[in-house]
Symmetry: C3
């Protein structure tokens, strides 16, 4: 009952996701395949990295996570298999694993180069089908990562830093919106633990969250803490500050999207 | 091979659905998870109730149906586990189970309160992940509902009545559009059995269906009963009257959507 | 671990796909169901045929492929079960299997008429649920096709020819765009093997691809062969010529869609 997750920018309009699943099941018919999402904007590696980080911990420890957000497909970019915290990840070496590197236990990585586990002939444009699918399926059957290619030190993998919120002073954190969900919730990079520092000498009710020239007062427990149509600041499900509107769509109400500056003050 | 179905307003753009599936598989790796749909408009409890009613009967009897259309998440609303006709349902106590209540056999319900089966820490905004997923997974493994919390009489659950079609007189039923599907079919709340009453003394060919000032004549057998581009009235797959256009999109042709008044006359 | 694939025009907004899966699992709880896509434009049989042809070969040999793009549902059109190359296909007899006919080994076909394997009562508008789902589930359990109905010679099935590229002369192939994917890639019906004939006396770098009055020079190895924003011609994952834009959306850049004329010259 090995789980393989898929996180891609393929969308669901074409047959690409289905083909990848066929190629997986041709190697491991017993795999349980789960879509994390296929709606990553084409080539948006940072968005994929955020979704991967906030998803992977909820899957069984022996899951294989496959990320195919791969604008460099067919160029010289490598493919990496990473093991950390018991889970395995297969992704282009383009930084999409950045949030996972040097954090877990038992971390090891190899470059995926052994063509024995690839489909042949190998296309230049669809490595999701020809490399990621069969390799993930073999891993899900218990194949050791080491047969895939040479070990690589994780500090040599492509990596980037996520934009992090910073303390402007001990009463003010400056951050940004990093994701907008279907409900219009504005998810920021301001973390609960940092908000708690602001609130050591102050009550959560004294918090002021500023975005696009407007201020949301206080930290609420739930979306329903305010009248319908009113904005609130809440700690969301990834332990980050979110700006929401009860029964509404905060991104529309504030005319804000990813990248928008957000300030939390007391 | 326990089946768990998911019916939510999460959409497929974000990672929420994938995360819920991970949380299910972490408890029951053998679960077969099926999406009913995740495209319910945010918070549209009545639409979800309609989809649930028209779907659940086609699943295996031991399925666990999970509905997370939950605008009250994190507020005081309860969560209910319902058993009826052998199937189990897990949903917010917000009326989404209304169509199922007091109809089946062996009906019993409990309030879901036992935190032992929840993820910890429990977020305030994502009970799909933290409560619905692990509880459904435990139920799918055969756990008895009674351990989840206190029994509740189903007449004490939140419930609403669907708008039902009514006989204005013995030759006329007044109803409404209750759903529009991808093909533009206008699905009404006028049921086949009531249409048959109209037609006891009259032929189906004498039926007149009125919507937005226009009249569709006769009851057709199939979409192809009329020339391409012409409207028809048919009995759809849920035994309700539907207004369709052969090869076209009735909702566009009639400029109609959910809530529009529909009259069936002889 | 029998695989059943689904290729429909149902979309994911409604509950139709979920209901079909429920009806499959009610017959074969052990089936592994894979979505190829449900985003076929309503009734677009040719698009479905293209996706089926380019997908089915990547699935396990014992897969059952179900196609429900069926504008004639409820009319007199037949339903066909086809076996070829070890795989089984279930589809309306409307030409959607054209690309598979008379090509594989062990080809046999029957008309699906035995109501014993249908749901009862049988609706007139949702054969995906009432016929395709249970019949596919029975096939996936190993039921022999011959019990479904009378054998039919595949030359008597509805069939159409895909628009094929042609050699205007020995230095020029005239074809067309046949599909546009999420990334905006323009997939043509000009095949690699024909391009290779053009290039016997010429280098791939001398190839000129013309579309909407513009010319793309040379055949590239990967999307990254040119600067960001520049167009390229590549051999795509189905061994057909594709016109792409590095980091961009060729369909928008060229203002082209399916049906657009494309010429490859040396």
């Amino acid at each position: 009952m090995a789980v393989i997750t898929l996180l891609t920018d393929f969308g669901l309009e074409d047959a690409y996701v289905g083909i990848v699943k066929g190629a997986i099941l041709s190697v491991n018919p017993a795999a349980t395949i789960v879509d994390i999402t296929h709606s990553i904007p084409p080539g948006d590696v940072m968005q994929a990295a955020y979704y991967l980080e906030t998803s992977c911990g909820y899957f069984p420890h022996d899951a294989v996570h496959v990320v195919v957000v791969d604008p460099g497909v067919g160029s010289g970019r490598g493919i990496v298999a990473l093991k950390t915290n018991g889970q395995r990840f297969l992704a282009p070496d383009n930084g999409v694993l950045s949030a996972l590197l040097s954090k877990g236990t038992g971390e090891q990585a190899v470059m995926v180069e052994n063509t024995r586990y690839f489909l042949a002939p190998l296309s230049r444009t669809f490595h999701g089908r020809d490399i990621f699918a069969p390799v993930a399926a073999h891993l899900s059957k218990g194949m050791d990562m080491s047969v895939l290619g040479p070990a690589v030190a994780t500090e040599n993998l492509v990596s980037f830093r996520f934009p992090e919120a910073v303390f402007a002073n001990d009463r003010c954190i400056e951050g940004a919106v990093i994701s907008v969900d279907r409900f219009g919730n504005l998810i920021t990079n301001i973390r609960q633990k940092d908000l708690m520092k602001l609130c050591i000498q102050n009550q959560p009710s004294e918090l002021k969250v500023q975005i696009r020239g407007r201020t949301v007062e206080g930290l609420s427990d739930t979306y329903k803490s305010v009248p319908s149509g009113k904005p609130i600041a809440v700690i969301g499900s990834t332990d980050r500050l979110e700006i929401s509107v009860n029964g509404g769509h905060a991104a529309d109400v504030f005319n804000a999207t990813s990248g928008e500056a957000v300030r939390a003050k007391v």
